[in-house]
Every structure is written in structure tokens, then in C-alpha cells.
Amino acid sequence: MSDYLISLAGNPNTGKSTVFNRLTGLKQHTGNWPGKTVLQAWGFYRYQNEQYTLVDLPGTYSLLAHSPEEQVARDFICFGQPDATVVVVDATSLERNLNLVLQVLEITSQVVVCLNLVDEAKRKNIQVNAAKLGDELGVPVVETVARRGIGLKELQEQIHLLVHGKIKTNPLKIHYPPELENKISDLIKQLHYLPESLNKRWVALRLLEGDQSILRGIQEVTRLAFS
């Protein structure tokens, strides 16, 4: 029985499986083309005498566009009830990677950002101010070069602090126009029966978007919570 469940999300080809392999000692397939991880791989590591289960999710640019990879990643982050989610981002194309980070932050506040490929970024003269990024996102940001194992101890430490409640995150909140915010509040009131583990604001947003696929997941979670 593992103490904590951690999911690894990120855009394709950002080094998720490399982080996963380094931490777990397993050999999940890695390579220099996107879309290698389609199903989730599970592995374990120990840190400070506690056992962590790590789930390597498929790479996605979004959690909302309904490709099979996105459904797997989204369902796990939403309904798999991980204790924390690590979002691995590519320091050489941060602008694009932050879309997914914001989407994950809308679902859960238990997030650590793993700013990977900082060696590549340096080579391209791209400097990322990790501390500032962490301040703006409201969650810890750890710089890594996963391929050489650099920064991974610090990543484990931040995960450890987060799951023990020793870091209080303050995730960047996206504000929608008043019309939408009013509808969101209305819906949240009607969603009072949902289990604590589900983020009602996020569910309300998906329902407003007309997302049918979310209903199945909700039914499943609600059934488990009340059975």
C-alpha cells in the first residue's frame, strides 16, 4: 500500500517519461518524438521513508479537446484523486506549455511545476525566472534537466512538502466575464451533492461548455462516494 499517489502530466515530449524512469528506476519508453506514452504507466519510489506511486500520463496540449490521450490524462487528474500532480513543462516553449498548466490549476491546487529542459533553454539563450513563475502561478516551480537527473531531488522534496501540507499553494485563478461568473455561481449551488474531492467550479465550467463526457466520470465518483 502506497502512501501517496502522484500524477505526471505535461505537453508531449517534455520529458515526463524521463522523470518517471529516473524516479522509479523503470524503463518506460522515451524517445525524441511525441506521443509515445498512450496508456498510463505506474511505478514507485521512496522518499523520506514513504512510498510514492507515480503515474506517467500521456502528453497533451490540453485537457479539454477530447482526444483519447486527453481523456486519460483528464480523468486521472480529476477522478483518480492523486495527492499531487506534477506538470512537466518545456522551458524552451513555455508560452505554449502554460496552457496546460492553467487548465490543471483550474482542477486542482495540489500542483508542482517541473520546469524541464533548462539545458536546452540555456543553449537557446532562453532564461526563465523560476521563482517569479512560481509566484505568478502560485505553486512551486522546480528547474530540472531530467535526462541528467538534475533537480529531481528538489522535485521530490517539493512533492513531499506539498502532500504533507507544508506548502500552501495559491493557484492563479482565471476570472471569466461577469455573465459567465454568475452562471458558474448558480451551478455551483446546484452541485452541492458532489463529493469534496471534485472541484465544483471546474465541473460547472465543463457543464456550461456542454461537455457530455464529464457526466460519466461524475456518476462514477458519486457512486463510489456514497456506496
Binding site: 496540449y61 490540453s62 479539454l64 479537446a65 477530447h66 524552451t92 516553449s93 508560452e95 505554449r96 496552457n99
Partner: protein
Amino acid sequence: MLMIISLDQLPVGESGIVTVIDAHGLTRRRLLDLGLVPGTVVKTIRKSPAGDPIAYLIRGSIVALRVNDSKQISIKPFSEVAINE
């Protein structure tokens, strides 16, 4: 004259600014997820031999779009921006 063209018409090597995304539903979602929102700068990188898909530089990443999708994106080419401002 203020010229707006659809993204598939933007010649290789030229850049422009996204003005409107006319797609709906999931296609719209996908385009937004690529960072294509009004105000985004896009450059055409190269065309495939058949002319579809076309590769673009968007926010530091190279992305291939099908003409069916890029048709639904309105672009103000940079040459025009310069002339009009």
C-alpha cells in the same frame, strides 16, 4: 486598404496577427489550445507537397494545420500592419 486574409493564404515566410477565430466546438478548442487567440503572431514556415497541411510557427512551436482549419482563422499580414500604421 485594410487587408484581412485567411491563414491558409498567408505566403511562406510571411507573418501576421490573428484577428478572428471563426471555428466552433472542438475545432475552436483545439486552435485555442495551440495558443491561437486574437493578437497572436503566426508565421508560415512551409507547405507540404500537396499544399495541405501547412506548417506554422506559433508561440515558439512549429505546428501543422490542415487547410480546413486554417481557413477559419483570419489574419492581418504584417506588411499590411506596417502600411496602415
